[in-house]
Structure formats: structure tokens, C-alpha cells
Amino acid sequence: MKYSVFSLLREAFRGHAGWTPAWRKAEPKSEYDVVIVGGGGHGLATAYYLAKVHGITNVAVLEKGYIGSGNAGRNTTIIRSNYLLPGNEPFYEWSMKLWEGLEQDFNYNAMVSQRGVLNLYHSDQQRDAFARRGNAMRLHDVDAELLDRDAVRAMVPFLDYDNARFPIHGGLLQRRGGTARHDAVVWGYARGADLRGVDIIENCEVTGFDIAGGRVTGLDTTRGSIKAKKIGLAVAGNTSRVASLAGLRLPIESHVLQAFVSEGIKPAIDCVVTFGAGHFYISQSDKGGLVFGGDIDGYNSYAWRGNLPTVADVMEEGMAIWPGLGRIRMLRQWGGLMDMSMDGSPIIDRTPVAGLYLNCGWCYGGFKATPASGWCFAHLIARDEPYEVAAALRLDRYATGALIDERGAGAQPNLH
């Protein structure tokens, strides 16, 4: 059923009895043309574009829990395309473009809200680094504005301009950046894929691969074996574990990133603000909760929960820019598993195993990539060649040295 104000009105008058499941609870078939492992945003978007753009509909998405149970369901929802390096920027901008038409495309309100992303800078040196990034964005035809302190103050007057340890000097603003309702993105893609025939199979964990003569032919799951011509991995924090089932060892570590939400309050902050002298970002959800986060916990973990020093650090950083938060209460904290890559940038590529494709390395920033990641991964799987904007996101770049290291932090995932 198409969602619209009319369908909503119609159902309202008949007790909402006519709504049907947003996606079928599909049972696994014995064989698919393409199996996508991982029912997060990326996996579901891949299936959606495989069906919609490439007409490949004999597709299954296998999810070990409920769809969106991974990072897609627990991120701070920031979307932006304010990257520095040519390997990244066109890709994220393509994502931004897809966000801009997404809801009409998949007929689901994902609350894509282009409320602006403001990165604060706190020194002249940082200003110049942000200028470099802003200029790089403009070279890619992406909007970027460098604000001075007064302009920042006009936008977000309640920050600490007078008594801060790291005074605010200005900010880099991308007005087209913003947020989206993370769960709705998952559900919208799921519904869109399902409508086009894709089987979404939940509670189905992949436990092994069938590989013959260097080519993948199927996989084992907790719900039986499934044959597949092509298999795409989009399992984020579980990438190393799943890839190891196919004998791959990757430039990836899994780290916990925490996020937090405050009690709901009346609108207090209209855009996304990030702190440049630390690692902190904050925005307000449409429900009123302040959604915020900071750095990863910084050590390998599969525990889906965070540790205390990071909590303190994040909340101190929040107070450092916004002293009025003192009496606001943090309501809930949680953690996700980041697939931290060795240069902080993602990988969308083939693997040494024929027919097995890899989508990983999203670090703490893959939510914004969801549409483009799905688009490009679908293209790669369907055509066996990279989509242009993702051409640099290769697996062999660590060996060749063609790294995409936005932070210049080197081969240490927890520094990215």
C-alpha cells in the first residue's frame, strides 16, 4: 500500500485495520542470484538498488537479529558530505544527493532534515585546515561556508564564547548536511526492497561459506544452507568475523562507539554542532532528545556497550561548548560496533574470492553513506565493476599506498 496522507486518513476511519506488514517475514529459499549478508542500512539499500536499478530481484538479505539491530539502529544520525579527500568526497556527495530524494523515491518518511552541520574550529591553524576542506568541497561542487566567530554566534548564541578552555574561533558549515531518522531509513529500504521482491530474512545468521575453486557458491546459516551466485557482505562491526569464514584477513578492527540521548526538551538547538578541540557532536531529535556522541572507546571490542571514561569525556566536551547543558540529563547511553579501517575510510570492493564482495570500513561515519553505499555496492555486484564515485574505495590501497586518510592518523584504527 502506498503511504500518503490519504492512506493514513482512510485507515484512521477504519481503525487502522488495513495496514499490512512493512516487509514480509520471508523464509529462506534454497537459491538466490544475490545474497546480501547484513540487514543494516547498507545491506538493505544494496538490495533495494539491486532490484530497483539493476532489476535483480532474486535477492535475499540475511540478518542475524532484527533488521536495523546493528549500527543502523544506534547512530547519531548525522548526514553530511563535508569530506576533504578526493577518494571520499564525491562518494559522500552522491550519498547526499540520494538523501535529498530518498523519501519520495522509497515512499517512506525518513525525516531527512537538512538543518545544517556546523564544525567548530578553535585556532587559526584549524581554521586553515577547515578552509582547505571547505575549498575541497567547493571543488566538488558541494556547499561549504567558513564562518567566523560572529557568524557562529549568530547561529548558535548559547555556546560558550567567553570562558572556554578552547575558545570558539568560527566554524565550517554545510547547510545541506543534517540528520535523518535512522530506523526509518532501515524500514524504508526494507519496505522498498520487499515490494520489489527481495526476501528479507531475519534471525538468520551466516555461519560459513561454500567456496569451490576460488569462487563462492553459497553459504551456511542458522536457518540452513543457501546457494548464491554472488554474495555481498555488509556486516559492519562483524566484518572481520564473517570474512574470516571465507578465509579473509582484513585491515579492520572492531571498536565500540557510544552514543547518548538526553531527556526530551523543547527545541534548543537547530543544527548539528561539533566541537573541534575534542570529539563531540550534538543535535536534537524531532522528539526533543539531544542526541550526542564523541570518540570511540578505543580498544577492540565486540561487547556492544561502552565504558566509563568515554562517557565522562563526552559529557565534559558537551559542557565545554554548551555550559547550559549542566542541568540537562542524559537519559540513555548505548554502544555500536564500528568497523574501523586502517585509514579511516571505507572499502567497497571485490575480494580475492570470486563472487564475494565486500562493503566495510565505515568507522563511525557510515550512516550518512547508506544510500550511496547501497547504490555503489549494488552496482559493483550487478556489473562487477565499481561505480565511479566509489572507485577509490579499494581493498588493495593499503598495499599500494593509495590511502584515504582524512585525519592523517596512520595505520591505527582507534586514532581515526
Partner: protein, 987 residues
């Protein structure tokens, strides 16, 4: 003022200490010992808040931190605290609170139209609409939704109170001071363990405060006082009231918040408002009790519908009558106590409605009307209960008049803290509740939190858990006289939802999630309990669904035809109750956010009127303006000119300094630097370049050989810590077999760069005349220990500015004296101090790289330093630096730039585009890394990396800088702008 609903006697309030307070502009009276909730109740105030979505009128549901409804804005101005539960606010004199999420007033709230529109505003309606046209979202729909949503208003200004954080350590942490917790603390304390007993209430006792239980034949509260006195007498027991243990972290760490002064209008001088505790405990006993839950039936959210246990708490503890005529609706034995206690307190009991066929025998004597096998299907009344409809087993409907309905749907053990490390609660059919599953390592659970629902059981369980915890910490079992108490009836038969309800039946009160919403979510496929939560927002409100979650998932189980155990729970996450930013921040706010490092000359520089700049953790003098100088540029120009003309001094103490000793020190340096240090003679310094193992430049600096087996290395200010760590890594992890020792001496030495043609003359006046400072005796790159007065100093002939220059290091306590002495010695040469700006200008004039170039993205070759990469030895980063992409001839390489129009200004961060080329990323050829105005050349100069830069000297490109409208045409040149032959170095 008199409080009309205050019971004539009883309660734990202090009637001799009246307090006045204001709610929504109206003044009321309460007593010490009241909460804001009990005081409102004593005053007959029923309507306290509005719900989140439908703006339904709401009253007080609970008597604790599980309250979903009665949220207010407490205090005013910069101390305003939105969403404060009236049930946890200790009343103080002069308290001011206001209702929230309503307009224009609490009684008449326009937002309540949502309730009329609720037919449309079902769970998830917003996902299905507001999509067209796309741009209306930000313009129209979203602002409307946002304004309607949200609860209270944040304070606009910074929080004026201060906060602290603190650490505590113990053998046994007891969480909760009810009967189980008190016993646990006592058992562990008597055994000799170090015990912390934390309770979020301002008074110990837990449910005993709310009940009329007796222990050892004494009233419960009296017994509590005795136990508390004994605990207080034990030397290693610490009692922490007003302290909520909010979170469990790995390895026995507990987060807790102490509300030190929230019971006062403002904290006393020097005292914090709240304190965030990190408690490290070898063992913990969770004795957090159980939380009562409601039952879903029509209009079960009306003000006056309360949890049965809360009604007892108000009557017994606070002597506040929730109403005149109370009806009780229960599915368990405990609910009956409310009838008995209300009756005893002189409140009329209209009826007890028990959904079970067989009521407990012991209450038969009360002489109250009893309806068994019956259920409440509807509540009459808008802003307060006026009556209820009861359906009995045969479907007959009875209307009962009452102004309070006490509901008990059973008790949920407070398992929350057992789940913070991933434990999953397990369903008990017997208790009709979830009980703790695997607990965090070291945690025992006792009392109602563990599903023990009788007092005697709780007391026993407390002793057992406390003793066990102490034993596990190595203490003996202490002998114990077990207190005696009744084993009260606690039978329950689950009832979640009254089918016959006509009106909306609420499950999550604050977020307005109804039984219908759950059914709809299930119909739409959101049948995983997590999807249910996210689709309907069940359990996501400020109470985190303490009362709602179990009911919600039970209803989901019902509508989806599954067992409750199969449906499972959502994840209980920290914190147990919401925690303020203040408490988690403590002292670390404003300028104390992070420590600041000050150079030894800081105070002197302040006296000179220096402007300071952040450099990592340091504050460094950026420039020293003089009267009459119109801007920083004029100042910096003067500093550079004066230095190059005569002499200037700059504090460089912030550089990292590491002493490296040992027989293998030279070998070690050869392995960490790209170039060779084993060949460095004693008494000499050398510039060194360090790579990361991935082949990119990590840091640079100079290292001097003080003795055959003794070196001192300098690092950049920014990387000092990282380099130290790296060197320790190289030694301890890679090459532990080397005889090398290293220690940071960064703090020990104050170091000054004295630069300019007259630098030697200045030094001559400072350094003991025994030391020959002539160019021959002390040439460029010489290093030596010298005497300055009675002080042993280190003198290095190093130059970052291109001038003849020295770095003089003195023990830091003499840093202040040294800068004054240097300036005095330089006076006759018109010496000036210069800051980081001039330092930067001079290094750019000389083409030296610094932080802007050593940004982790560039290789030694990119920086034009390829020749420093020795080919005769191994060093960290050598192999990976040979990767093909790093050898690409097209990589941007360091060169210099000057504006084609010499009057134009350059800006770092501009990108280089070939002249006339279209402005696209494909034509991006590099970027400007550093710029300065060169007073020597009279125009701006810049360093930058450009594709094949060194081959293109003389060519022009465009420095593209749209974010600052700073587009300029620049000419590519050598990065060495000034004194390219380096003649000035030699003086």
C-alpha cells in the same frame, strides 16, 4: 496555609518544620520530609503535567524515580531543570516549580487537540506522510512536530552551580537501603568488609518507609533507625543517602550520582550541587527492590489513577491522602494492603476489585466491598478521577464512585543494573515478572530485586548476599541473629490488559503508547520487541518504561501469539535514572575543561602584554603588541624585522625534550630516525626526521649528543607525548634487547631561542666567559653544557629562523629569571621578544616545515626531505615508504608560492588549480599549507604542496579559496624565500 489532604497524624514528616512552595504560580504549604509530590498531594493538587504526544492531563502515578507523568520544570532562571520528577524532589522552603509541555496553561492546553486527533496520530503515522513536497519538511512539518514534541525547557544560560566528581573504593557496594540492602550492609560490615551503602532516597528504609510492617515486633521505621545506627558505628561502612547507582561498568566499576544539595534552594557556598561518583567495588549487592506496574484499561492515565504501593507510600510515609475515596484494582495480594492501609489512615475505601477469583484470606476482615474476578474497564473524569466502571466475570458492569484508583498489576524486580554488562533477565511464570539472569561479575542480587516479595525473605536474602560478598572478599562469616518478620501474602495472577476497555488504554504513559498502538505495530510487522519499541517509542521516555516495558511486551506476546519469554525484553541500558551533564563533568568545565600548560616565561610574557595562543595543551605567546600598533600584523612584522636586524628571543620550552642514554642509544636513534645519528660527534646537534611505520612523517626535531652514550632529543610541541610513547614502544616492544634508557625532561628545562645577528653578543653577556662562543669554537649545530651565572645551562646553536641563533636551556625554576636576564642583556641591541607568529613567519621565509606540513598525510619525499631517508640502514617506516602510490611522480610536493600581484594576500587552505582550468576536483593540484607576510620581502609568501611542484618553479597557478573569497594567482618558487645560501646562519 493548611494542606487539605494532609492526614491528621502519622507519617515521617516533620510537622514542626513547615515549608512553603509555589507550583504554577500558586503558593502551597508542606513539611520537612515531604517530596514535592507528597506536598502537592497533601494540598489536593491532582493535575501536575501533560503527556508527550496527546497532551493528556496527568497526575502523580508513583512515589519514586519511576515516575512517568508528574514532571515539572523545577527552579527558575539559569537553574531551571526541565523534566524533574516531583516524586524525587525533596521539598525545601521557597521551592518554585512549574508545569511543562502545555500552552497556555496546565488546565487548558491547546496541545490537547492532539488527543482528539489521536485517531490519525497513531504509532508511526509520521513515517507515512509529510513527504510532499520534499522541501516542506524543513520549512513546515518538522518545525511543527518539533515544537509540539519535547517536554520541559532547558535553561538558556550556563549553569551557575558547581559539580564534583569523586572516587570511592570498597569491598562491598550495597545498592539500595531497604530491608534487603540494610541486612546485606550489616552482614558485610560486621564481617569487617569495607562497605558502601547507597540509596537514592534521602532516607534509608526502602519499602519499610511506605509500609506498616513490623520487624522484631517493632515498627519497621524504628528497626531501620537501629540498623542505621549500627552501620554508622562501623568504621568501614559508609552510608550514602541521596545517591543513585546509575550504571555498571566493566571490572567492578559503578557510576553513581549523589544529589548533595538538591534539597536546598541553592547549594551552600563552596559546596557542589551534585557529585558524580565512580565506585570501584570488589563485590556488589543489588538490593534495589521492585517496581510496581499498572494494568492497561480505558483512561487508566487519568490523574488520580495511581499505583497501589504509591498510595500506601503517600498515606503511610507522608501522611498525604491521595483522595477522599479510593478504589483498589489489583491482580495480586499486595494490592490489598492499600485498602487496609487507606482504611487505617481514615481514607474511605470504595471497593477492592481483584481480577482473581480467590482473594487472599487475611484481608477478609476489613469489611470492604470486594469484587473478585472483576476488572476495571473505564475511568470517568477528565482532569481527575470521578468514578470507574467495573466488569465482573459475567460481564456485568458496575459503576463505582471514587476519586482515586489504586492499581497494582504486580511487581517487576528492579533488574536494570544486572543488565548493564549484557545480562538478560529471565521470565518467571510464578512471579509473572522478569528476574535477574546472569549478573555482572561480582554482583549478587537480594530482596525484591531478585524476586523475593516478602519481608522475611528479603531480610534473609540480604544477610545471605552480604555475608557471601564479604566471604568472597576474604572476610569470615559473622554470626547473625536473623530479625523476625511476617511472610506476607504475595500471590499474583498476571493481568496486563482489560479487554473490555472502551477508551484508550495506556501502557507507556509519558509517551502515550496504547494497547492499540502495540497491536498496530504488530500488524505492520514490527513484532520484534525491539521493533515494537522503536516504532511505538514504548519505553523510550524519561522513565525508560520502568513501569511500562514488561506490560508492553506481555501485550505484544498476546497479540502475536507468543510466550512472554519468547518475546524477551529490550535492553536495559545505563543510566538507571537520568544523569545531569553537570554531575558527569564535575570540575572539568569552562577553563578547567582540560589542564593548561604554561611556559616558564608565562608570567613575564603576561607582563609584556603578550597575546597568547593555544598550542596543544600549551598557551604560548603569539605576539607582543606595543602601544600604537594597529594590528597583529604590524606587531609581527616588527618582531621579525627586529630579530633579523639585530636579535630577538622566543620561549621554546614547549618543545618535547627527551634524554636518551645507554650503550645502544646511538643505534636506537638510527632506527627511529630516517637519517643517521651514530655518526654524530659529541657536542653536536643534528636535525632528524621520524616516520611512522606506515612510511608517513611523524615528527621532526633536533637531537644532540651530550656524551658518547647520552643524547637529548627535541620534538615538536604538538607531538611530544606521542613521540615519547613511540620511543618507548620501539624500545620495549620492538627492541627490548637494546641498552637504552629514555626519560622526558620537557618540564625540567626552560628553553629560549635567541636569534639574530646580535644573538652571540647577547649570549656573550650571559654565558660565563670561560666558554668560547666564537663561530669557530661554537659553530652552527654545536651543543654544550655551559655556566650562566651559578647555573648549569645547555647551549645549542640551532636555528629555525635562518639567523645565527642559539637555544639556551636553563632549569625551569630559573626560566623567569632567564628571560629577564636575556632581555636585560639584549637591551643595548634593541632586543625584542617574539611569539609564535613571528617564529612561523621566519620559518616559512626559510622554507622549514612544521605542523601544517607534518600533518600525517605527507611523506618525507612530499616534504622535499627525501634525501634524509638513509639507504644504508633500516629505520621505522622505511619499507612502507616505498609503496608505489607514495613514489608516484604526480604526488604534490613542497614548494614556495608568492602572489603574482605582490599586494595580494595568501591564505593557507587554498587549493591550486592551473590557470584558466575549470574549477573542478579533477584540476585540484594541491594546497597551500602555511602562509605568512614576509616583512623581509614585503609581500605574502606561502608554502604548499603541488603536483610536481619543484619542476614547475616560475609557473603560475591559481590559489583557489572560495570559502574566504580569497582567490589569487600565485607564482611557484623555491620554498626558501630568504637567504637561500644560508649565509646568515654563520653570523
Amino acid at each position: 496555609m493548611n494542606a487539605p489532604h494532609r492526614l491528621a497524624q502519622g507519617g515521617l514528616i516533620d510537622r514542626a518544620r513547615p515549608l512553603s512552595f509555589v507550583f504554577d504560580g500558586q503558593a502551597y504549604a508542606g513539611c520537612a520530609g515531604d517530596t514535592l509530590a507528597s506536598a502537592l498531594m497533601a494540598n489536593g493538587v491532582k493535575l501536575v503535567g501533560r503527556s508527550f504526544k496527546y497532551h493528556r492531563p496527568r497526575g502523580i502515578l508513583t512515589a519514586g524515580s519511576d515516575e512517568p507523568n508528574a514532571l515539572v520544570e523545577l527552579r527558575t532562571g539559569p537553574r531551571r531543570e526541565p523534566n524533574t520528577r516531583v516524586t524525587t524532589v525533596e521539598l525545601y522552603d521557597g521551592l518554585v516549580a512549574a508545569s511543562q509541555n502545555r500552552w497556555p496553561s496546565l488546565a487548558f492546553d491547546i496541545g490537547a487537540v492532539n488527543d482528539w486527533l489521536s485517531r490519525f496520530l497513531v504509532a508511526g503515522f509520521y513515517y507515512k506522510t509529510f513527504m510532499c513536497p520534499a522541501k516542506f519538511w524543513e520549512m513546515l512539518y518538522e518545525p511543527l512536530i518539533r515544537r509540539a514534541a519535547g517536554l520541559g525547557r532547558a535553561a538558556g544560560a550556563g549553569d551557575p552551580d558547581h559539580y564534583e566528581k569523586a572516587f570511592a573504593h570498597c569491598d562491598v557496594l550495597v545498592i539500595g537501603g531497604g530491608p534487603a540492602g540494610l541486612m546485606a550492609a550489616l552482614a558485610a560490615g560486621r564481617a569487617g568488609a569495607r562497605v558502601i551503602l547507597a540509596d537514592e532516597d534521602f532516607r534509608l528504609g526502602g519499602r519499610l518507609l511506605a509500609e506498616r510492617y513490623e520487624i522484631d515486633g517493632k515498627p519497621g521505621t524504628e528497626w531501620v533507625a537501629e540498623i542505621e545506627a549500627e552501620l554508622a558505628s562501623l568504621p568501614d561502612v559508609r552510608i550514602m543517602p541521596r545517591t543513585t547507582v546509575t550504571s555498571v561498568f566493566d571490572h567492578g566499576q559503578y557510576g553513581a550520582v549523589e544529589r548533595v544539595n538538591d534539597h536546598l534552594p541553592v547549594p551552600p557556598e563552596h559546596e557542589p550541587r551534585q557529585r558524580g561518583w565512580k565506585i570501584v567495588a570488589k563485590r556488589a549487592v543489588l538490593a534495589a527492590g521492585a517496581l510496581e506496574r499498572s494494568i492497561a484499561f480505558g483512561n487508566n492515565d487519568r490523574p488520580g489513577v495511581m499505583l497501589a504501593g504509591a498510595v500506601r507510600a503517600y498515606a503511610n510515609r507522608y501522611a498525604a491522602a491521595p483522595g477522599r475515596r479510593v478504589a483498589v484494582f489489583t491482580n495480586n495480594d499486595d494490592g490489598w494492603r492499600t485498602a487496609a492501609d487507606a482504611h487505617a489512615a481514615g481514607i474511605e475505601v470504595a471497593a477492592v476489585i481483584d481480577s482473581r477469583a480467590e482473594p487472599p484470606a487475611q484481608f477478609a476482615a476489613l469489611g470492604i466491598e470486594v469484587l473478585t474476578g472483576a476488572q476495571v474497564s473505564h475511568v470517568h473524569g477528565g482532569q481527575g478521577v470521578r468514578g470507574i466502571d467495573v466488569v465482573d466475570a459475567r460481564g456485568r458492569l458496575t459503576k463505582i464512585d471514587c476519586d482515586v484508583l489504586a492499581v497494582s498489576g504486580g511487581w517487576n524486580p528492579a533488574v536494570h543494573l544486572t543488565c548493564h554488562l549484557g545480562g538478560k533477565p529471565v521470565w518467571s511464570d510464578n512471579l509473572a515478572a522478569f528476574t535477574p539472569g546472569a549478573t555482572p561479575p561480582g554482583m549478587h542480587v537480594a530482596g525484591a530485586a531478585n524476586g523475593a516479595l516478602t519481608l522475611a525473605e528479603c531480610l534473609h536474602a540480604g544477610v545471605a548476599a552480604g555475608a557471601m560478598a564479604a566471604v568472597e572478599c576474604g572476610f569470615p562469616i559473622a554470626s547473625f541473629m536473623m530479625p523476625s518478620a511476617e511472610d506476607e501474602a504475595s500471590g499474583v495472577t498476571a493481568l496486563w490488559h482489560v479487554e473490555e476497555s472502551r477508551a484508550k488504554a495506556f501502557v507507556d504513559f509519558q509517551n502515550d503508547v496504547t494497547v492499540e498502538d502495540i497491536a498496530l505495530a504488530n500488524r505492520e510487522g514490527f513484532s520484534s520487541v525491539e521493533h515494537l519499541k522503536r516504532y511505538t517509542t514504548l519505553g523510550m521516555a524519561t522513565d525508560q518504561g520502568k513501569a511500562a516495558n514488561v506490560t508492553g511486551l506481555a501485550i505484544l506476546a498476546d497479540v502475536s501469539g507468543r510466550a512472554i519469554a519468547e518475546v524477551g525484553t529490550t535492553t536495559y541500558r545505563p543510566p538507571y535514572v537520568p544523569v545531569s551533564f553537570g554531575a558527569m563533568t564535575g570540575h572539568h568545565r569552562s577553563r578547567d575543561f582540560r589542564p593548561v600548560r604554561l611556559a616558564p616565561s608565562h608570567q613575564w610574557a603576561e607582563e609584556q602584554g603578550a597575546v597568547f595562543v593555544e598550542a596543544g595543551a600549551w598557551l604560548r605567546a603569539q605576539y607582543y603588541p606595543r602601544d600604537g600598533e594597529k594590528d597583529w600584523l604590524e606587531t609581527v612584522n616588527r618582531e621579525v624585522t627586529a630579530t633579523r636586524a639585530s636579535v630577538g628571543v622566543c620561549d621554546v620550552s614547549t618543545l618535547g625534550k627527551i634524554e636518551i642514554e645507554g650503550a645502544d642509544a646511538a643505534i636506537f636513534l638510527d632506527r627511529v630516525y630516517t637519517n643517521t645519528f651514530s655518526s654524530l660527534p659529541v657536542g653536536k646537534s643534528r636535525y632528524g626526521l621520524m616516520l611512522r611505520e606506515d612510511g608517513f612523517v611523524m615528527d621532526d626535531g633536533t637531537t644532540s649528543r651530550l656524551a658518547p652514550e647520552r643524547f637529548v632529543m627535541t620534538t615538536t610541541t604538538a607531538q611530544a607525548g606521542r613521540v615519547m610513547q613511540h620511543l618507548e614502544f620501539c624500545h620495549q616492544v620492538l627492541w627490548p634487547e637494546l641498552d637504552v634508557q629514555m626519560v622526558s625532561v620537557s618540564e625540567q628545562w626552560a628553553q629560549f631561542s635567541i636569534a639574530g645577528p646580535r644573538s652571540r653578543a647577547v649570549l656573550r653577556k650571559l654565558v660565563d666567559e670561560r666558554y668560547d662562543l666564537s663561530d669557530k669554537a661554537f659553530p652552527h649545530l654545536a651543543a654544550k653544557e655551559v655556566a650562566v651565572g651559578s647555573v648549569t645551562a645547555r647551549l645549542f646553536r640551532l636555528s629555525f629562523s635562518g639567523e645565527m641563533a642559539y637555544e639556551l636551556a636553563v632549569p625551569a625554576r630559573y626560566g623567569d629569571a632567564a628571560i629577564r636576564a636575556i632581555m636585560a642583556a639584549g637591551e643595548e641591541f634593541s632586543m625584542i621578544p617574539y611569539g609564535t607568529e613571528a617564529l612561523g613567519t621566519m620559518r616559512i621565509e626559510k622554507g622549514h616545515v612544521a605542523g601544517n606540513e607534518i600533518n600525517g598525510q605527507l611523506t618525507a619525499r612530499d616534504l622535499g626531505l627525501g634525501r634524509m631517508m638513509s639507504s644504508r640502514k633500516d629505520y621505522v617506516g622505511r619499507v612502507m615508504a616505498q609503496r608505489p602510490a607514495l613514489l608516484e611522480p604526480d604526488r604534490p610536493v613542497l614548494v614556495g608560492f608568492r602572489p603574482a600581484d605582490r599586494k595580494a594576500r595568501l591564505r593557507a587552505g587554498a587549493h591550486f588549480i592551473p590557470l584558466g582550468a575549470t574549477v573542478t576536483a579533477a584540476n585540484d593540484e594541491g594546497h597551500m599549507t602555511s602562509v605568512a607576510f614576509s616583512p623581509m620581502l614585503g609581500h605574502w609568501i606561502g608554502l604548499g604542496v603541488l603536483k610536481r611542484g619543484p619542476q614547475r618553479i616560475g609557473e603560475r597557478v591559481r590559489a583557489y579559496d572560495p570559502v574566504r573569497n580569497g582567490d589569487v594567482e600565485v607564482e611557484i618558487c623555491s620554498p626558501v624565500f630568504f637567504d637561500p645560501e644560508g649565509a646568515r646562519l654563520y653570523g
